[in-house]
Subunit: 414 residues, 2 copies
């Protein structure tokens, strides 16, 4: 008798990029350069001040305290203080990346069969963590025309059920690049307070906000001590994705206590990563503005370039380093595969993330792609040129007619 | 309305050491040296050949492939080949320590409300992962008199239910140091095959087997390709607990595929740890025998010393670097606390892990402690002396009478 994997195992979503990766490999083998606009892996160096910390690694790579070393927690405290958020050390649980922080938050705040409200399109991997934790994600649709800002509160109320336990909000948003205005966050915060829900706020792109704006943290708002559970990561702000370091930050003592107990179960977060993290204190006041300026310039290259292409629609993204653009295709998964398998322009092509992977509702995102601007400006300019040539070529290849003729979907949406 | 944490959050077990840690801190503040026999954190250096690999860290600490870098997977393949286990690269999923490997294996092999059979006493943190994954651990009691070897198969059959999905076997065992004989592993393997169960084998102490013996891996046995799911870690064999690197190794394609999808959800295992892991290939043939000889000598110091103490009972442990000893006390949690709070001998005391934390059945382990031999021999000799003086002193302090007079529990057990 053969043992069978679990139902949740069968439901566990595969990475939407997985099918495309072999096509990208094949393109490279043909000698085609592939510009990766599909993943959130910055090309920027991890700051030398952080990498240098590895020189002081001890000779025994030992377990650290489960909630993080005192030094690492203190450096996070200092970081939050710099963002106007005052936390005690025991309100910060250091985790193995933002990923573990999300899993801990979901597991602490909801049980098997409970529901979480989330704006779609959303970060794909929320679905993987929800499947592991047995949660049902209940999507509320945000729309390109609104710059993917939050749907009206009436829609949130209608989505409530007796099993709703939390709102999961990514701000600034991956994948849309939307930065929710303070009033929007306040509205959702009040909604959570009114209905006894946790606000699990994924704020890993906190400093990546452009045009002189800032993001409102769930921990900035009053009367949120019992409600706000921030999940965070060092990956993006320090271009240190691979060290796997993040945290859960919350003033809700029951939540921090459960997270600490889960942390004890898995013994400790990565020790070398915690060493590297300490170097963030050495970065000085110019680091963050420099980072923001670089990404803002990249955004501008892509936004200015892409928004001039016939049939492409996007509002100017306000933060993070992604956006979701509507493109004149009917099947963005086919388009993304075609870019890798059947197209090149001056020896190069681009890899984009088809948007259906960011929606829970079947059928959405078929005319959208997510684009990450984690390459230098020259590469991004080249990517715009590739897409400018690819879109009409793809429509010809798929007999979709000239771009000027709106498809049903775009006509309706405009 | 305040949001409430989940039921599983409330059930999440706290580390059994947690209550003792402040007492150990207080002892140190009083100037008492504390010998830590309570945790599996070796004092040995992480091999220089592994630490040196950090010198070749890249300037971008980037995500690695979700299942591990090709180089890291290849080095694990080579390691397993050296232990007579031939695996394809896609049969190895690199994880964030053995901890994540256990969580992945449990989640893939069983669902919410399903049951796992496990020998008690067992590694405490299985309970934390089972709580996260919604599994019920069904304990089968192993006894000190049998050297904590497996209970007879009839007990396993009686423990079966329609919800049983897997057997969780730690071999060599933490906390008992028992190495199950090949026939024992074969018996459990046949039991799993007969009843359609997975055998999730935690083999992180694989090479730590003494007196010239070796451990039988679940992957060594025939007809186990669909059944065996090995969880592993580099922590113990390379004294590299803090890097957080392990793996799931299985020939069951459905399980490896689910584990890979969970791995994709959390993006990647720690990159620096994977670099460090590559250095294991440079260690040469003398490394493992040297490690085994050192731990065997430590075991002998503790076994020879403790087994001569009146009222202490233990069989000679065969592997890992722990054992569970019966001690002449009625409440090992109180005894462990008393050692830290009320006792010292020549300016020092010991910290031990009370055994109730390793049992699921309430009331067991109250006259047992787990001892880890992760200190040098001189420190272990000093620890024996401390316990030799502490036990009679504790009995006097708690008015338990002289050690010669057996308590009800020890009389029954012998």
């Amino acid at each position: 008798m053969k043992p069978q994997i679990s139902q949740r195992g069968r439901m566990m979503p595969a990475s939407p990029i997985r099918k495309l990766a072999p096509l990208a490999d094949a393109a490279r083998k043909r000698g085609t350069h592939v510009y990766h606009l599909n993943i959130g892996q910055p090309d920027l160096e991890t700051p030398a001040a952080m990498r240098r910390r590895l020189d002081s690694a001890p000779s025994v790579f030992a377990y650290t305290p489960s909630g993080g070393t005192a030094e690492c927690v203190a450096s996070l405290q200092e970081y939050y203080r710099g963002h106007g958020i005052v936390l005690d050390p025991d309100q910060i649980i250091v985790t193995t990346g933002g990923s573990e922080a999300i899993l801990f938050a979901m597991t602490a705040c909801a049980g098997e069969g409970d529901e979480a409200l989330v704006v779609e399109p959303f970060y794909t991997n929320y679905m993987a963590f929800a499947t592991m934790a047995g949660l049902r994600l209940v999507p509320l649709r945000a729309r390109a025309e609104d710059g993917f800002h939050l749907p009206p509160i009436g829609e949130w109320s209608r989505a409530l059920s007796p099993r709703t336990r939390l709102v999961l909000l990514c701000n600034p948003s991956n994948p849309t690049g939307t930065v929710y205005r303070r009033e929007e966050v306040e509205t959702i915060a009040a909604f959570c307070r009114e209905h006894g829900l946790f606000l699990v706020a994924d704020e890993v792109y906190r400093e990546l906000v452009y045009d002189g704006q800032t993001a409102t943290s769930a921990l900035h708002l009053p009367d949120m001590d019992e409600v706000a559970v921030v999940v965070d990561s060092l990956s993006k702000r320090y271009s240190a994705c691979g060290i796997r370091l993040g945290c859960v930050a919350t003033r809700n003592r029951a939540v921090s206590d459960v997270c600490l107990r889960m942390a004890q179960g898995r013994l400790s977060p990565p020790g070398l990563a915690q060493l590297v993290a300490l170097g963030a204190s050495d970065l000085g006041p110019d680091y963050a503005p420099g980072l923001v300026a670089e990404y803002q310039a990249r955004r501008d290259v892509l936004f200015d370039g892409l928004s001039q292409l016939p049939g492409v629609f996007l509002r100017k993204p306000e933060g993070a380093f992604y956006f979701v653009a509507r493109v004149p295709v009917e099947d963005s998964e086919d388009f993304a595969a075609w870019l890798l398998s059947d197209f090149s322009f001056q020896g190069a092509t681009v890899m984009v993330a088809p948007a259906p992977g960011f929606y829970a509702t079947p059928g959405l995102g078929h005319d959208e792609v997510r684009i990450a601007y984690v390459l230098n400006r020259k590469d991004l300019e080249a990517s715009v040129q590739i897409l400018a040539h690819a879109l009409p070529a793809y429509r010809t290849a798929r007999a979709l007619g000239p771009i000027g003729a709106p498809t049903g979907a775009t006509a309706e949406a405009r």
